[in-house]
């Protein structure tokens, strides 16, 4: 009867960065992360990932395109980022005419957008 043995690994449940063992890898910036036994891949277990959910760095709003009811960020006032036809425009001043070309801007959907704005803002303020 043949027996197989996996690579010996030690599993640690990490709830907080303070729980990280000292011998784990460090990036030049001083961040700590764990690697697989080969030392080449970065692995995080679910408990650790969940523990970082509300860490300070996650609070600043990310740079996302505004998609009504999907990305929970304030609606850009001057259509700085308009999403349509799968194209994201990162330029600051986007003219109204190009906005109208997008499939988000049919009159029907513009109404939806206005209705959604309140909801979006509420949800956003919850995150603050």
């Amino acid at each position: 009867m043949s027996s197989t043995e996996g690579i010996p690994i030690r599993r640690l449940v990490v709830h907080d960065p303070k729980d990280m063992p000292l011998h784990f890898g460090e990036t030049p910036g001083g961040s700590i992360f764990s690697t697989t036994p080969g030392g080449t891949r970065i692995y995080y277990d679910r408990a650790f990932l969940l523990s970082r959910r509300d860490s300070p760095m996650t609070r600043s709003p990310p740079h996302l395109p505004y998609i009504p009811e999907v990305t929970l960020i304030p609606e850009p006032e001057k259509s700085g980022e308009v999403v349509g036809n799968g194209v994201t425009t990162g330029k600051k001043e986007e003219s109204e005419s190009s906005t109208d070309k997008t499939n988000l801007s049919t009159p029907e959907q513009q109404q939806t957008t206005k209705g959604v704005k309140k909801d979006g803002d509420d949800q956003f303020s919850m995150d603050m």
Binding site: T36, R41, D45, M57, H63, T71, G86
Partner: protein, 243 residues
């Protein structure tokens, strides 16, 4: 490292207590304190501010991810081509940027019918045509309508975390991304793999998927190849594996 920082912080705190002990006296401190004292105090305050910003920056730790991952959103608009309805939301490379994006996205269960979220490795487009997907397939978890409110978001989040956490170990290079599809006939969470003909790897990924996403045994996981789905569009395609 953090222990040393804490020690430093303690020292400064002690000093600052001393520094503040002087002016808080029954006699009006501003008039009585000599100018040199005020200067010293200012210096102390400066160093306290410095320490506070150091403490702040230690909170700003970021944890790098093994792979860069892109969030995509598919919006249901039948007037447009499928590809035109696919929107790249953003790409994340750290645990913190992942959460920052996730925390600002609508929950899957609250998306409109016919919408999808995708999380794919940044170099892979979330479509069959991509060269990494061409020979691939998907492990699918099908959920009914009542499970949308109770279970969908949990399984989806755990699936996302398993990808960014590189939890498929040696098989991670065979995992391309994941999709959540909101449909009136039943929602679906899929894990896309690179090479379905490699059955050992495919089966291992399926078993691991169940484990890392915490999917109970009573919920079936089925595997289909993209090829079969493409040729049998509309009809149900052949189930190649189960996990």
């Amino acid at each position: 490292m953090s222990i040393v920082d804490n020690n430093k912080v303690d020292t400064i705190d002690n000093q600052s207590d001393d520094a503040y002990a002087t002016p808080i006296s029954p006699l009006s401190p501003k008039e009585k304190s000599p100018a040199s004292n005020e200067q010293q105090q200012e210096q102390k305050e400066e160093s306290i501010n410095e320490m506070q910003s150091l403490i702040q920056s230690s909170n700003d730790l970021t944890f790098p991810l093994e792979d860069a991952w892109s969030f995509w959103f598919f919006k249901n608009d039948r007037q447009c081509e499928w590809k035109d309805n696919l929107i790249l939301i953003t790409t994340v490379t750290t645990v913190e940027s992942f959460w920052s994006v996730y925390n600002h996205l609508q929950l899957g269960s609250r998306l409109g019918q016919g919408c999808d979220y995708f999380l794919f490795k940044a170099h892979i487009q979330p479509m069959w045509e991509d060269r990494f997907n061409r020979s691939g397939g998907r492990w699918s978890l099908n959920l009914n309508k009542s499970q949308r409110a109770t279970e969908l978001d949990k399984y989806w989040l755990f699936t996302l975390l398993s990808l960014i956490g590189d939890q498929y170990t040696d098989d991670a290079q065979h995992v391309n991304g994941c999709v959540v599809s909101i449909r009136s006939k039943g929602d679906r969470i899929s894990l896309w793999t690179k090479d379905w003909k490699n059955s050992d790897v495919t089966k291992r990924i399926g078993n691991r998927f169940r484990e890392v996403a915490d999917i109970p045994r009573n919920l079936a996981l089925i595997f289909e190849s993209h090829e079969d789905q493409e040729s049998k569009r509309g009809a149900t395609s052949k189930i190649l594996f189960r996990a």
